[in-house]
């Protein structure tokens, strides 16, 4: 007897957010990335279409990272000292879908780099690469409010995905993104209510929901992964059931989370029974990423080229109907 699969009917689809603008759209990219648009739960193609496959953005820092383990930095090589070369490498060698530039050097406690240097990095990367760009500030509200509007202006028309806004600080960046035609990342601390509230607050400034991406904040494997997973799952279920204010694509900073995990960073001399550090780190990042794919992640921001390769293959497999 043939078995009929029970199919859920959903009333709403996730909004489609476009990142990057082609030349005839006012930008300089040779390709754009569209994400979101799911009409059902992840990879249940019988229930609803998934018009756009999940994408991988590779993280590039404007300054050489000082807290990344050697197993990670050595994989990128000398290019890690130069953000433009690093970005080109991500595009050419690692086939990243997008670049995610984090302006870590802007932080007042780090190098507190002057604004001109930061806008220059943004412009140089845009010039040297052809794929769309995600731009992240340093995470210090005051400094971000100062530099991100300048970077936003410098990249006017390029339709960046720019972030991050939080509930206590979203107005300045949203206003800049609105003026310069960029989309925005709305970050919430693993809290479905705050996620939705922030989306409402940003929409109240007349930013359309096709220009908002949710960063639900995630945790690495072993560090609250299941909690983050369940928040994403709940948000996505609400979105598919009709809640437009949660119906935006997700961006997950898995590289940032996974490489903070002790299991990814600890040396073999410390824990000889844990196996090779390099493999551990890659596996930790890849596993964290693939888990969040199941929760509905649309953009994965990753760090290690090998992990990126593994996850891309995995997405290829998952996308086969």
């Amino acid at each position: 007897m043939a078995l009929d699969l029970v199919k859920e009917k959903w009333s709403n689809a996730v909004a489609v957010v476009t990142i990057g603008a082609l030349k005839d759209e006012g930008g300089t990219r040779s390709s754009v990335v569209r994400c979101g648009g799911e009409e059902g739960l992840p990879f249940l193609f019988a229930e609803g279409k998934t018009p756009h496959r999940p994408v991988i953005a590779m993280e590039v820092l404007d300054v050489e990272p000082d807290d990344w383990p050697q197993s990670l930095t050595s994989a990128i090589g000398p290019a890690i000292k130069n953000p433009v070369e690093w970005a080109v490498k991500c595009e050419k060698d690692y086939k990243a879908d997008l670049i995610c530039l984090r302006l870590a050097g802007a932080h007042p406690d780090a190098q507190n780099r002057p604004a001109e240097q930061l806008t220059k990095v943004v412009k140089d990367i845009l010039q040297a690469t052809t794929i769309p760009l995600i731009l992240i500030g340093c995470g210090e509200d005051k400094r971000d409010n100062e530099i991100l509007p300048l970077c936003s202006q410098a990249a006017k028309g390029e339709r960046l995905l720019i972030g991050e806004t939080v509930q206590a600080n979203y107005k300045t960046l949203t206003a800049s993104a609105l003026a310069d035609g960029h989309s925005i990342i709305a970050q919430s601390p693993i809290d479905i209510n705050i996620a939705k509230q922030l989306n409402i607050l940003i929409s109240d400034m007349s930013m359309s929901i096709e220009r908002i991406v949710i960063n639900p904040t995630v945790g690495a494997l072993g560090y609250g992964l299941e909690y983050a997973y369940s928040i994403m799952e709940r948000a996505r279920l609400a979105a598919l059931s009709g809640d437009k204010m949660l119906g935006m694509p997700f961006i997950c900073f898995v590289g940032y989370e996974a490489w903070r995990a002790k299991e990814a960073k600890a040396s073999e001399t410390e824990f000889p029974t844990w196996g090779k550090q390099l493999e551990r780190g890659i596996a930790w990042e890849a596993l964290t990423a693939t888990t969040f794919l199941q929760a509905g992640a649309d953009i994965l921001v990753m760090r290690h080229p090998k992990a990126v390769e593994l996850v891309r293959k995995h997405i290829d497999e998952l996308m086969k109907e």
Partner: protein, 649 residues
């Protein structure tokens, strides 16, 4: 042990205390009330005093600014005398003294804590129904007994019973030994003409008082609503059902903590229970004295007293240890309190007079709610109705004549003016209504009794927040727009703030402001009440739209601006005509019970019928609460009239 004399100004009262006693304790001993929300923990900063003469040492506190310190300000709960002292209690630290005059012409906005005679006359329910038969808790009966003779030689007591039964159908009668001891002599010395006061006591009728001659025309009783913040008392002529006067005063227990939990903790300390008990009965006795004096009534003609209040207040009134109310599984000592003699609880009326308490439902839903349900007639209607009593503890009752269910949500005292920077109770000088011009941000406001503003009460905060939202000064999360530059918007100690009224011309030492922390506190309070209402309605399988009537009660319910209360998400978005403001429904219910034995039985039925729904163990409550921490709500479709968003199907 050293002793110091401390003189409090401006009252000029002096008290001698042992070394080590805090100035706050000394003030209480001197009979001077100083505000204290935290019960002397040194965190609320409300008990500031100014040291004028002498030496005192204080523990360090962030609640006194450097400027204030220079002027000699101390927190009285953290300071002890090192010598004889002269201490001034500044205006902002003093409880507004005394009772509110009953015939003050401008009491409209105080309706909640001061029920006006016109809408409460003759014991009518607030819905205008007069459904209970007149049979007060204590009634007087004049008896002209036939003298005994050789043919009719039954005993004096049986003679008394026979005479009473010839007039009233009372199969069960009781008399105490002391009355029996007096009876023989009393009957003969009064020529067999006496007045008996019959009290309804726990299912029987007791001959409570025996007096010579006819005093039956003079029978009076008191109805009390004992709230955490406010006490209301009403003198009633039990024969005519007429209200002779109403008074409201602050519950002086507030000196020991602003919410029931702090007071329960205080009760566990040395003499704590005694102090709390006295704070409430002293206030009640004062009201009784004033109202009887104003009406030329002899205290001996006051034969009974009926109280409604939350469970903790009833325990403290009766000096019953409330400790177990706050310990799992939250069981009170008594919900159904038998009728006792008033003097046993320290209430000074006729020494043999009765004291009854409206039965409660659980530790956190008390007799005030039973009385409220009775007054609203919720137990008599087919209509599905909801009663929301907004207080420090928000209580919510849902149901109809067939069933009733209640829950309680800890809203905190923000709506009653505590825990907010410029908060005050709804009394003289409180900003009660606010309008903000969306273009110029200029403010117009009105105060209670139109006196210069000295603070902001709950309804003022509701208006202020709704107007700040409308003007775009704050966002739906309650945060100020950082880009706005205006003379009324500035950076304060606790985030950004908006000046409602500048101190110039007010006589206050500070500008009256609303800051982000205040907005956060109000957001939590309104979130708790809305979430609890939503949970309760949901739990029974209904939606807000199924409600046919919503009663809003509590000391401040009557003067809350309804559209604004919906705008900020305190009340559900329903057609305005479904809301009925009932003000102090607890006091109305207490009076009905005082006046009718039928209502007493009804109240017992209501208390037994109400199911208590414990929110704290409901897994969904926290979620609903978190979603309510937004103006008006994270789910905007729940407030279509506010957001223009249609309700989802």
């Amino acid at each position: 042990m050293d002793k110091f004399k401390i003189t409090f100004l401006p009252d000029n009262k002096t008290v001698e205390v042992e070394k080590g006693i805090t100035l706050l304790s000394a003030a209480i001993s001197a009979g001077i009330h100083i505000n204290s929300s935290c019960g002397g923990d040194g965190v609320c900063g409300r008990c500031k005093v100014i040291l004028k003469k002498g030496q005192a040492v204080s523990l360090p506190t962030g609640r006194i600014s450097a400027e204030e310190r220079k002027k000699g300000y101390h927190l009285s709960c953290l300071s002890v005398a090192q010598s004889d002292l002269e201490v001034e209690v500044p205006a902002e630290s003093r409880l507004d003294s005394g009772t509110l005059a009953k015939d003050d012409a401008h009491m409209l906005r105080l309706k909640g804590i001061f029920s006006e005679p016109e809408d409460t006359d003759k014991g009518d329910s607030i819905l205008g129904e007069n459904i209970f038969i007149h049979s007060p808790l204590a009634s007087k009966l004049y008896l002209d007994l036939p003298k005994p003779n050789l043919e009719d030689k039954i005993s004096d007591l049986e003679r008394l019973y026979r005479q009473i039964r010839s007039l009233q159908d009372l199969p069960v009668l009781q008399t105490g030994l002391s009355n029996i001891r007096r009876l023989g002599e009393l009957l003969r010395s009064s020529d067999w003409k006496i007045t008996a006061t019959l009290g309804k006591r726990n299912g029987t009728t007791e001959i409570v008082i025996l007096e010579p001659g006819d005093t039956s025309k003079r029978n009076f009783g008191f109805a009390f609503d004992i709230g955490t913040t406010t006490i209301c008392g009403q003198l009633i002529d039990l024969n005519t059902k007429k209200i002779l006067g109403t008074k409201a005063a602050y519950n002086k227990q507030a000196s020991y903590g602003s919410d029931v939990i702090t007071r329960i903790i205080f009760a566990q300390g040395t003499d704590g229970l005694e102090k709390l008990h006295h704070a409430v009965i002293d206030e009640m006795n004062l009201m009784i004295q004033e109202l009887t004096r104003e009406n030329n009534i002899d205290l001996n003609d006051v034969t009974c007293c009926l109280c409604a209040g939350n469970t903790t207040m009833m325990h403290l009134l009766l000096r019953v240890d409330p400790t177990y109310i706050r310990r799992e599984p939250y069981v009170p000592t008594a919900n159904f309190i038998p009728v006792v003699r008033a003097y046993e609880a320290g209430i000074k009326i006729n020494p043999r007079g009765l004291l009854a308490c409206v039965p409660g439902i659980s530790s956190y839903v008390g007799g005030d709610i039973t009385a409220g349900v009775l007054a609203c007639g919720m137990d008599k209607t087919e209509k599905l109705s909801l009663l929301i009593d907004i207080g420090t503890n928000g209580e919510i009752v849902l149901g109809s004549k067939d069933w009733l269910i209640a829950c309680a949500a800890s809203a905190g005292p923000a709506f009653e003016g505590s825990g907010v920077t410029c908060g005050m109770r709804a009394s003289r000088g409180a900003i009660q209504k606010v309008k903000i011009n969306p273009e110029t941000f200029e403010v117009t406001y009105s105060t209670i009794l139109d006196t210069p503003a000295s603070g902001v009460c709950g309804s003022g905060y509701i208006d202020a927040i709704a107007e700040l939202l409308r003007a775009g000064i704050i966002d739906r999360g309650g945060k100020f727009d950082p880009k706005l530059i205006h003379r009324r918007i500035r950076e304060g100690e606790y985030g950004r703030e908006f000046v409602l009224a500048f101190k110039e011309g007010l006589g206050t030492t500070v500008d009256l402001i609303v800051n982000e922390m205040d907005i956060e506190n109000i957001k939590r309070a309104k979130g708790a009440i809305y979430a609890a209402s939503a949970m309760l309605v949901n739990h029974m399988g209904f939606g807000f739209n199924d409600l046919e009537q919503v009663y809003i009660g509590g000391g401040f319910g009557t003067y809350v601006d309804m559209p604004n209360a919906i705008f900020i998400g305190l009340l559900p978005d329903l057609p305005r005509e479904k809301f009925v403001f009932v003000g102090n429904s607890s006091l109305v219910g207490a009076r009905q019970i005082l006046l009718s034995h039928e209502a007493i039985m009804d109240a017992d039925e209501i208390a037994k019928k109400i199911t208590y729904f414990e929110l704290s163990v409901e897994p969904g409550y926290m979620d609903e609460y978190m979603a309510s921490l937004f103006f008006p709500h994270t789910d905007l479709s729940k407030f279509p009239s506010v957001t223009g968003k249609k309700s989802s199907p």
